[in-house]
Symmetry: C4
Subunit: 203 residues, 4 copies
């Protein structure tokens, strides 16, 4: 709840967008996940539901997030302890700018060390970009395939939709969101500066 | 009051700009609307007036918003339950950039699903842009005509003025504000990136 | 104090920059003004001094703002009830971009109606830009001359320094700060968009 | 703690980045420094450790910041009373844009007067840029050498990493952070505007 309100306050979860989950029990899988259609600026404990590994609600009232299948796919494939998904301006712009490349490289930044297991700024992080869809089974399958083909990535962008990231704990995952937001903002803001540098060099 | 203070805090209602209304009773129409000239950072319950369908004040002291006729026009034509109007930087920039086109297309974004009735990112939202005027009767008539000619739109931009949006409830309308703000910021920030992409492709 | 903290929170008064004054008594002139060197994020009542028309401290301990002479010049020439001065990013960028022109025109915006006496968006506001100086007597004299030569302006930019604005009351002057900040941000952000539009038209 | 939370709130210390130190006793040197891996949004007194001049923990539990050697190098060489280090978007962009020049000149701004000992906007501040490294002994040695070669500078950028600044007191150092953030944002945002001006002049 606190994390969700914080993201809303930063403009990362406008208009009921964004959804958040935490593994309550790994086996059998019990996942706490935000209900659908909630204004994250007034997120409260009663908006968090508990579901099983098929998405059935075990505790709480309401319908779990539309994107529950993606959360479950990530948790099952990667053994993640939490999954956070936001709709931010920078993730959207980045996913547009690099859509045709199928992803974007983030490299050379000290901030990369905030991603679990990364020990140096001299790291090359591939952030895959997946075409958006309203067919959640199909989208969850594509996400699974992309994660299988790109072992070790820390996040995935849905095109003109938003960022998914995960981690062992909720705190790790919140940190990943902040790291990616930073790196994505820098990458997008770098585009016109790179052009400036190229112009200066061309003189 | 809470929504108004939140918008002010985000810089969407600087300098007493912005005005907000909610239908209290549909028939006979009773509309709660912000008084004119109020600093939205210190908006309080006594700054909300109740008016009838001609704009006459029934409860509260003060003069209703200068733009009352536009609120009434939208409520009457569309049966909206609330109307929110803000002056944001992104709406202003967008209305300048696309003024000659008479509107701007917002499409392909997951965030479009935050607009009432939109079920897919694969939606093409037309956001009409209307020339600004100080003649409120004339402006209200133009807004009415543009809404009649563009059934199904969720908002309208007054050029170099700001955004109007509406909804069944106040919560829906607040969500529409956030959705449009997000989409407008993305659209404006995309302009130089699109040029960058075009340059890269031209190489 | 509340206004100062609000401006700090928006990043308009970083690093002890910014100074604020209010006329306590017009004749003989008694001006309440912020002391120099105060972090505006922790501005408190004891940081406000009362001075006379020559800048001598009548109440409170500390040294009044370095720019006291400019505040006094504006109050004396225009009969203002309050003067607010901030160092914002947008004012700095605008003062750089239009330095050679000696000022910048702000026009066509609904937000201009937030400036005292302006009744329509169809208004042409001239915002003079003055070269910065550390000689406060000389700078106050230049400000006085520019205000005499440009009757009716609502603010003045010191180049690569910041914005001065004033009003009948403190509330009016705070509103002017917000209006100018909005208009300056829009103007600076418009520069690359205008180039984009020109490029599109040139195709 | 208050400063750290404030920086986090401004987005200057995302994802456990940033580290902060204050001299508790100059001789023998006792330095209070943030522990490594702390979310600055929930920074609390127990996250501050006391270390000696070799980095050994004297009080508190946890491991001091990875960048302790850089803090110690700055304190020892310059006799600083505090050292603050943040990872901000603008510092990252600036360090990329001017990496090949080994630093960037910040000049002409009134805000420069917020740097200790600077009396006029007519000041030329050299902000050195140092290549990032994970070898902290080597990086501390490079920082020491660059500071020796550039007497009088108030800060240093680690490339694609962040800003270090220092001061006699914690308040002075916080002010330096704000001053540099302002100047760096202005410098980065000026790049496309300068190009615009050049284009206009070329017409």
């Amino acid at each position: 709840v606190e994390i969700g309100r914080g993201f809303y306050s930063r403009g990362w979860a406008f208009g009921t967008s964004g959804n958040f989950s935490v593994v309550v029990n790994p086996n059998p899988l019990r996942l706490a996940i935000t209900a659908t259609g909630i204004d994250k600026g007034s997120l409260a404990p009663q908006h968090i539901l508990e579901i099983n590994d098929t998405g059935r609600v075990l505790r709480g009232t309401g319908k779990p997030s539309n994107e529950t299948l993606i959360h479950l796919a990530i948790v099952k494939l990667l053994g993640a302890g939490a999954v956070l998904h936001i709709h931010s301006v920078w993730s959207t712009l980045l996913s547009q700018a690099y859509a045709s490349a199928g992803g974007v490289v983030l490299e050379g930044h000290e901030m990369l060390k905030g991603l679990a297991g990364v020990r140096s700024h001299d790291h090359r992080e591939w952030l895959p970009i997946v075409k958006n869809s309203q067919d959640m089974s199909q989208l969850a399958a594509v996400v699974t395939r992309v994660l299988q083909e790109n072992p070790g990535v820390h996040g995935i962008l849905l095109q003109e939709h938003g960022l998914y990231t995960w981690g062992s704990t909720l705190a790790d995952t919140k940190r990943h969101i902040e790291i990616f937001e930073f790196l994505m903002e820098v990458r997008v803001r770098s585009l016109p500066i790179e052009r400036h540098e190229q112009s200066v060099q061309a003189l």
